[in-house]
């Protein structure tokens, strides 16, 4: 097991190194930040001085190594636009995105897995057919459209829930969380639902397919032959067997939602990193873009690593296979 962990961590570090280079070169190719940084009527002296101050006159590889060195010492540069350390800027926004994403993905899993298991267990029942119809809807209707409908219906028409922005927050571990207040939840429900629908559909499909397949195996027949009740079979055998693909999708969805909650955050004016990155791209705020992408890459790699480790915990065959 230890060998397996070390191997995976080394792999993760390699991926990060490659990613950081790609991101740096990629972002470098996007526009010239000097046009944004320096007002057009500045003197040539000021221009040169500013360019030198940001190190923009150095060769690309030199800038890259300075950049990597800075990252390793925890310095990801300052935002051109906000004039504050990028890391601090992102960390200010991250909790909002994090809680939105977590509520959406966890909610989708908690609702989707039981619904999917039921649909796989009783594929012919009208309830299952309804569940599947809803899941097709979740797949095929665009997020922004559902978001607007949610706002129109629950916020404008019924007036039950606020249409956007983040509600009251409470501090926990030095970070502001809105999941700790009622008002925060009221603001969270609509964007989280919006974000969760696609994932819900995915979890339903995944659990249904897994359950259908497993129900036909000899494992289930043997459990039935031993007199286990259907409920015990679903809870103990089926749930445990489908948990492996579900953990994978949970991890991937968590990562990608964290990175790309942009549409929902924009529609609901949610002050998360999604909105921040959109603004930064518009303003060519290069350090923010780079730091954001690096951070996202880091999150993905970490999540994948975690998923792999959870895999090994869930599937005993893997544990031995890889360690040996």
């Amino acid at each position: 097991m230890l060998g397996f962990i070390i191997q995976r961590v080394l792999q993760a570090m390699l991926v990060m190194a490659v990613m950081s280079a790609l991101v740096f070169i990629g972002v470098y190719a996007v526009g010239n930040p000097i046009d944004v940084l320096i007002s057009p009527d500045a003197t040539q002296d000021i221009r040169t001085e500013t360019i030198a101050r940001y190190g923009l006159d150095r060769p690309l590889y030199e800038q890259y190594f300075t950049f990597v060195g800075n990252i390793l010492s925890g310095d990801m540069g300052r935002s051109f636009v906000f004039g504050m350390p990028v890391l601090q800027l992102i960390m200010q926004r991250l909790p909002a995105t994090l809680e939105l994403t977590l509520v959406a993905v966890i909610g989708a899993t908690l609702a989707g897995v039981p619904l999917g298991i039921y649909a796989g267990y009783r594929p012919q029942s009208p309830i299952s057919k309804t569940i599947m119809a809803v899941s097709i809807l979740g797949f095929s209707v665009p997020t922004f459209w559902i978001g607007l409908i949610l706002i129109l219906f629950f916020a404008v028409h019924l007036g039950w829930l606020p249409a956007g922005s983040r509600g009251a927050t409470r501090s926990f571990l030095g970070v502001e969380w809105s999941v700790l207040t009622l008002d925060g939840w009221k603001h969270l429900v609509l964007p989280a639902t919006n974000l969760a629908l696609f994932k819900l559909a995915m979890m339903i499909r995944l659990s249904r397919a897994g359950t259908r397949e497993i129900m036909l195996t000899d494992t289930i027949k043997f459990a039935r032959a031993a007199g286990l009740s259907e409920w015990t079979i679903l809870r103990q055998h089926v749930l445990k067997l489908i948990s492996i693909p579900i953990v994978t999708v949970f991890g991937l969805e968590f990562g990608s939602t964290l990175a790309f909650a942009v549409v929902t955050e924009t529609i609901f004016s949610w002050p998360g990193v999604g909105k921040l990155i959109i603004d930064s791209i518009a303003q060519l705020d290069r350090p923010v873009m780079v730091a954001y992408l690096i951070l996202i890459a880091f999150l993905f790699v970490t999540i994948n690593l975690t998923v792999d480790l959870v895999y090994a915990l869930l599937d005993p065959r893997l544990r031995r296979g890889r360690a040996a």
């Binding site: 195996t217 000899d218 039935r224 032959a225 031993a226 007199g227 599937d315 005993p316 031995r320």
Partner: protein
């Protein structure tokens, strides 16, 4: 004579598929005395497994028992509500399957799987369940059972895994165990070991055993009585020694002639000509008719079983006549 533990009469199980009705089991009758071992043989697709599943009420849709009766320890199982059937399964009648790779859940420890089987029928503390599981594993010959409880199926060899499955089937000391080709997937030497131990176990526990196999040699080594199935029906039944020495049904004869151990040295093995008929398009009358050397126009009518409760065959032209027929 005491009442049989299991009495199956005129059991029919059909599958209602899109292509038509598959009469997988048709009019099957047999009985099983306490502690008796019955061998059920027949080619692939003859309905052996479906017979076994029918006994436990585990026929998957689109199949179902369409008629007949299954009396286990005097209690009728056909038509029993699901929860009562569930209560009988594992407790009074259990089943072991062919492939031990597929039957045990790969992601649960052996202890967990055994505990679930125990708790399905009685209350037990985790500690008591563990002790009982270890005892059951020891009984089927798994060394160091207490420690191996925490292992997963993949950590056992095929033979050991099948022993675990057998231990689970024996947990509640059922009256009847259906063993559906439990050694087919294993090495020959391990097959023989498990066969011998299984025979010992059932005689110790007084459990009756239905041993399903397509291998006549395996079955005859183990069972006192055998029933031969063809195309969903039992075509011949009787004490093993008698059936092997003096088969009455031409199909049984064909099976015997194709056994390597019984062939005369130097002569080619006799194969039964033709192949198993499709269960969707069974010929009219005796289904073995197209492959049978003794077939006659009379065979277009389904033969009824002749003989007595001990020895019966379904054939218009049996190879050996019963005393009654000889008269």
């Amino acid at each position: 004579m005491t009442e049989p533990v299991l009495q199956v009469s005129a059991l029919s199980t059909h599958f209602f598929t899109k292509a038509g009705v598959v009469r997988a089991v048709e009019g099957v009758s047999f009985s099983l005395a306490r502690g008796e071992v019955l061998g059920l043989v027949g080619e692939s697709g003859s309905g052996k497994s479906v017979t076994g599943f029918s006994l436990l009420g585990l026929v998957d849709p689109p199949g179902r028992i369409v008629s007949g009766s299954i009396r286990l320890e005097g209690r009728e199982l056909v038509g029993l509500p699901n929860d009562e059937l569930r209560d009988v399964r594992g407790r009074r009648i259990a089943m072991v399957f062919q492939d031990p790779m597929m039957t045990l859940n790969p992601v649960l420890t052996i202890e967990r799987q055994m505990r679930l089987a125990i708790l399905a029928h009685e209350r037990a503390s985790p500690r008591a369940a563990r002790a009982r599981s270890a005892e059951a594993l020891t009984r089927v010959g798994i060394p160091d059972a207490a420690r191996r409880l925490d292992d997963y199926p993949h950590q056992f060899s095929g033979g050991m895994r099948q022993r675990v499955a057998i231990a689970i089937a024996l947990l509640h000391r059922p009256a009847v165990i259906v063993a559906d080709e439990p050694t087919t997937a294993l090495d020959v030497s391990i097959q023989a070991q498990i066969l011998a131990e299984m025979a010992k176990l059932v005689s110790e526990l007084g459990t009756s055993l239905i041993w399903i196999s397509h291998d006549l040699a395996v079955v005859s080594a183990l069972s006192r009585r055998i029933a031969v199935m063809y195309a969903g029906r039992i075509v011949e039944e009787g004490p093993t020694a008698v059936v092997l020495d003096e088969p009455r049904h031409p199909y049984t004869r064909g099976l015997l002639d194709s056994l390597p151990s019984r062939a005369e040295p130097g002569r080619e093995l006799a194969q039964i000509p033709g192949s198993t008929p499709s269960m969707l398009r069974l010929p009219e009358g005796c289904p073995f008719r197209p492959r049978c050397p003794r077939a006659s126009p009379a065979c277009t009518v389904m033969p009824e079983p002749t003989g007595d409760a001990v020895r019966r065959a379904r054939c218009h032209h049996p190879l050996v006549l019963t005393p009654a027929e000889a008269v």
